[in-house]
Amino acid sequence: MNKGKQVRFMQGNEAVVEAGITAGVRFFAGYPITPASEIAELMSIRMPQVGGTYVQMEDELASMAAVIGASMGSVKAMTATSGPGFSLMQENLGYASMVEIPCVIVNVMRVGPASGMPTHPSQGDVMQSRWGTHGDHPVVVLSPSNVKEAFDLTIEAVNISEMVRVPVVLLSDAIVGHIRERVELPDPASVKLIERKRTSLPPSEYKPFAAGDDCAPEFADRGNGYRYHMCSNVHNEWGFPADSGHEIADRLMRRLHKKIEVFQDRVTYYKTFEVEDAEYMVVAYGCVARSAKDAVKALRSEGIKAGLLQLQTIWPFPAGIVRKFCAGAKKIIVPEMNMGQLINEVRLASGRDAAGVNRADGIAVSPKQIIEKVKAVK
């Protein structure tokens, strides 16, 4: 069915499903939750059509476990959830980063804490996506602002997870997830797909956690003589626990972090709008970037030199990009649908203060609010 370029009118959640399939995902395990449920529903229809599997697990702990299990079995796998479910996935998300198993977790954010406002959008999980699981783990988190970006970034999420061997979080929200827009989908044949590197060593020489310069170890499909162990304790290059080896722990931790550094440029996505001469730099991500763009247009029409830096990769935080685009600005404004999460990273990166526009009541930040803020700080 999916032949050639297509123009579709689709929901953000639907775009995630189609992109996952295009990127080669053939396993989805999940547990329904608003506003992510459409992803599970559509996966249950689409996965078997493309020869993949949808499993409805008993909860999010099991969903995340099953996703990692499938990926260990060499099948590209993903899950989707929202705030409370994302919290339940955290332990195994940590497992995936420790054992370096590629997988994608979509978090369609809703208002929290707790059950919050189940059907309303939010950006409250920005810090949870960075620091949710225990320990000093590396992460990659992407954030789409519209349906097309939901499609493109889902493909990138799958590719990055395979390339870097890390779990990748796609931080969507109820607005992006539920909005319907016209999108042009690429010919699946033209989409560049990345597969985790497979080892060329014979089983007797293969060490599952030995890594070269890019710090990402090579994978061996199980069977065919590759009989190896993986565990989530601090482990040696053979995958066995080395829980009292401080040196081994140090080496492993540094490598896991370095791995993200090595790939940082290749996982950093952003867009700019009217930034060349901007005196008022709005830094936004996710659904808020839409309002920010409108605000910048309106301000420009009044002769106020505003610009937009839209971050599509939010972790690892693109500090260099933020520094570069904010350097010439008189003021920096960070609108967010939370009480102020990414703003502190912007402050740190730019070495400057920034003004926040915040709301956490389930209502989108409007262009008007951003316009007012720019005028207020002017």
């Binding site: 099953a66 299990g69 260990m72 079995g73 626990p241």
Partner: protein
């Protein structure tokens, strides 16, 4: 015939278990069952959670991974679907499998997915120092039940039966040849298989319950086990404090999940060709 040692990973001995622990005996039983059935070693994957029992796959030379506490069955579900040709064996402790992981155990049984769960029931949390587990006997002493345990243990075999498992059995370390046979039968069975093996933990359980010597714990197993055929003739009162051993349930009336899923894919493809509709 290969020996158990042929299946052990070079360089991974000595193991971490205490002297007198039952976990190594279960490793022996599992290996002998696999060897007897001539299962290709490359097509065996052992998945564990966290606990002393989870360390079985450090020493056995199969595909293996150790996961998070209680979640091994969830990992195994994804892995089995991805690699249907594999014999997927989960080894869990009683805290790991029936406590924190109890929910996953129930649902995997309900799905009837072809994974084999061997639950090593030493009736205690061993690794964390002898706290009571959901399978610790009523009245026993544990590090978190210093007066006595006032919680009742449950019969996981009955639970598995009710949940929809298609193979359910229980053995002990004392009844070793039976246990080996039960594991072999479970490995041959297509569908969700549960084998509980009652073992001894002299360190976490024995020393607090006046059974310091592993021999005493083995004698306890001998005295409290009742073969399933015999248990059917005994009253509830006579069965008090006793447990059933043997093949408790074998059923063939449920389709295995991975197979059902393959049929679903066929249906979905037909549906797609027909342009949708029922």
């Amino acid at each position: 015939m290969a020996t158990v040692r042929d299946y052990l990973r070079p360089g991974m001995l000595p193991h971490i278990w205490c002297p007198g622990c039952g976990d190594g005996t279960v490793v022996g039983a599992l290996i002998r069952a696999i060897d007897k059935l001539k299962i290709d070693r490359d097509l065996v994957t052992v998945i564990t959670g966290i606990g002393c029992s989870s360390r079985v796959n450090n020493i056995m030379d199969f595909n293996s991974f150790q996961t998070t506490h209680g979640r091994a069955v969830g990992f195994a579900t994804g892995f089995k679907i991805a690699r249907p040709e594999m014999k997927v064996i989960v080894v869990a402790g009683d805290g790991d499998g029936a406590g924190i992981g109890g929910n996953h155990l129930i649902h995997a049984a309900r799905r009837n997915i072809d994974i084999k769960v061997i639950l090593i029931n030493n009736q205690i949390f061993g690794m964390t120092g002898g706290q009571f587990s959901p399978l610790t006997p009523y009245g026993a002493i544990a590090s978190t039940a210093q007066y006595e345990n006032v919680e009742y243990p449950f019969d996981v075999c009955k639970l598995m039966e009710a949940a929809g498992a298609t193979y359910v059995a229980r053995g002990t370390v004392y009844h070793l040849s039976l246990t080996e046979k039960l594991i072999a039968r479970a490995l041959e069975h297509k569908g969700f298989s549960y084998v509980e093996v009652i073992t001894q933990c002299p360190t976490g359980y024995g020393k607090r319950n006046k059974m310091v010597d592993p021999y005493q714990l083995l004698m306890w197993q001998k005295e409290h086990a009742v073969p399933v055929e015999q248990a059917a003739k005994l009253s509830t009162k006579e069965m008090k404090d006793k447990f059933v051993i043997g093949e408790i349930l074998v059923r063939h009336d449920r389709m295995e999940f991975v197979e059902a899923n393959e049929q679903l894919k066929e249906k979905a493809r037909r549906w797609l060709k027909g342009g949708g509709g029922k």
